[in-house]
Amino acid sequence: MYQNHIKFELTQGNFNSNIDFNLSSDKIIAITGLSGSGKSTIAKVICGLISPNKGLIKINDKILYCSNSGINIAPNLRKIGMVFQEQRLFSHMTVLNNLLYGQRRNAKLNHKKLEKIIEILGIKNILERKTYNLSGGEAQRVSIGRALLSEPKILILDEPLTGLDTPRQNKILSIIKDINKKIKIPILFISHSLDEIIFIAEKIIIIEKGKVVAQGPIDEIISYKKLSYFNKGNKKSSLIKGVIIEHDKEYLSSTINIDGVLMTLKRINDKIGSNQILKIFSKDISIATEIPTNISINNILETKIKKIKIEKQKGSVDLTLSIGKQQITSEVTFRSYKKLKLNIGLQVYALIKAVSIVGK
């Protein structure tokens, strides 16, 4: 297996990056973090568009940059397929000539590969169009195709779904998964969206203030405490993992075991025994000090308050609750918090209104 090693230090103004991580081949790896955490800088350094102060960049066992030995390979010779956030297509060329631009400069024309990529991306009927006529989704698919055809050793996508509507985002995500499977190329997927990375990535690297603060497979990383803040619109949520143990045909539901705690969900189309990642928005968890009766909510879990964080400005309180070895966060009003006399260590019931399956 080829090794990819990214390690560098870089000062830009008063922002310092100090990055160090390894990637093994053939996987989709997500880099995530809040806006301004230095995610895109990593992509630019790998591409050679920014030179770091020092470090070592190794892709596919080939050293692209090494401050110790003075190696700094020019961007055009690095063989990195880069898809930028905003579309950077060549507007004076047709879609087909955009696709062939990288191909012509890196390899002999391979009709089979060209056709395969056009097929995966579903862009056969727009090949003769000029790029200024394309929709956002089409333009991004062409960008991906152009990058792939330049025979890259790694594909980097920097927030490729920005500005697309949800159906188009989902389409591009599926295409990226498809590419990884059919073309066998490691993919570095940079995104601030938790939903995107959980759907797509096998491994996650979390960046904060220019540093790697956590990395690992998704099910190891989901308990990382700050992950819940990476959501769109700052809607706080918790991620927990569990295993499907039962499908109920009569009630059209599935039961999931989370460290011994059982939750019933709407029917999940997956095998019994399969791992699932669940997302629960903090506002969808209510708290009761006694078991309520005659209530539509199915999932009423006995739990303990582990941590209390009062948000005075918002008039709300975040309660960290334990479920087995995992944790979920509930957001209640300050008023309810006072009324119920909540304390750390108090045994309460978490009333969970909605749960979504976000990954495996």
Binding site: A74, G81, L89, G102, K130
Partner: protein, 231 residues
């Protein structure tokens, strides 16, 4: 129909303008690129030097050219001694004068193209394996083509209109340096040639109109190729 003298002046005007503009294209693009992309002291000086002919009185330019290109001048002496070329009182001198006065318009327009071109697209070209030179010819130049065409048009029109520097530098010799404006000037100096003068005025207007119209069509086409809309 046109008289032999009118035809001669018309041909000479067009010929000198075409030579002057053609010779300016490559240096024009290079200098426009330098003053658009570089911020150093030398680039700033170059920027000012390029624009000087736009604000100097044409007679000053004509006189300076006379000093530089006469057989005693720095450039004139070099050309005469080494290549036996003399530009004084010849169409070559007229073309040099036209090129110098029209150069700022050419450079200004192309510089504007480089200024507004989104260089992030160049990064995409590098990542697709294009070297800097490859990228310049395959991406940058085609993207700024509309600005180049506009610059060429303006410069061409300015060449047709050139008078002051030409008459000072290479005088007013029929068939050699007497372009349309100079022929018109001659006509206005001789009593009883009002009609001839008016004919030259009309020819000048027609020539200017046609050249600007052709250039507009070309610029719109180039724009449409790049952005999908002609403006």
């Amino acid at each position: 129909m046109l008289s032999a003298l009118e035809l001669e002046a018309l041909k000479l005007s067009a010929f000198i303008a075409i030579i002057a503009v053609s010779a300016s294209i490559i240096p024009g693009i290079i200098i426009a690129w330098i003053i658009s992309k570089k911020n150093g002291f030398l680039a700033s000086i170059l920027n000012i030097l390029v624009y000087l002919p736009l604000v100097l009185p044409p007679v000053v330019i004509g006189y300076l050219l006379l000093l530089l290109f006469s057989h005693n001048g720095v450039i004139g002496n070099f050309l005469y001694e080494n290549f036996n070329i003399s530009v004084n009182f010849s169409w070559k001198g007229a073309a040099i004068a036209a090129a110098v006065v029209s150069f700022p318009l050419l450079v200004r327009s192309i510089k504007l193209g480089f200024d507004t071109f989104d260089s992030k697209i160049e990064e995409a070209a590098y990542m697709n394996g294009a070297s800097k030179i490859d990228c310049f010819f395959s991406i940058t130049l085609p993207q700024v083509l509309p600005s180049i065409i506009t610059g060429l048009t303006l410069a061409f029109a300015r060449c047709l209109a050139e008078f002051g520097a030409t008459i000072t530098f290479v005088s007013n010799i029929p068939g050699e340096t007497q372009t349309l404006p100079l022929a018109l000037y001659t006509a206005t100096q001789i009593p009883g040639t009002d009609q001839a003068a008016l004919r030259l005025v009309l020819i000048s207007i027609a020539l200017a109109f046609i050249s600007v119209a052709i250039a507009e069509i070309l610029a719109k086409r180039a724009n449409k190729r790049i952005m999908g809309n002609p403006n």
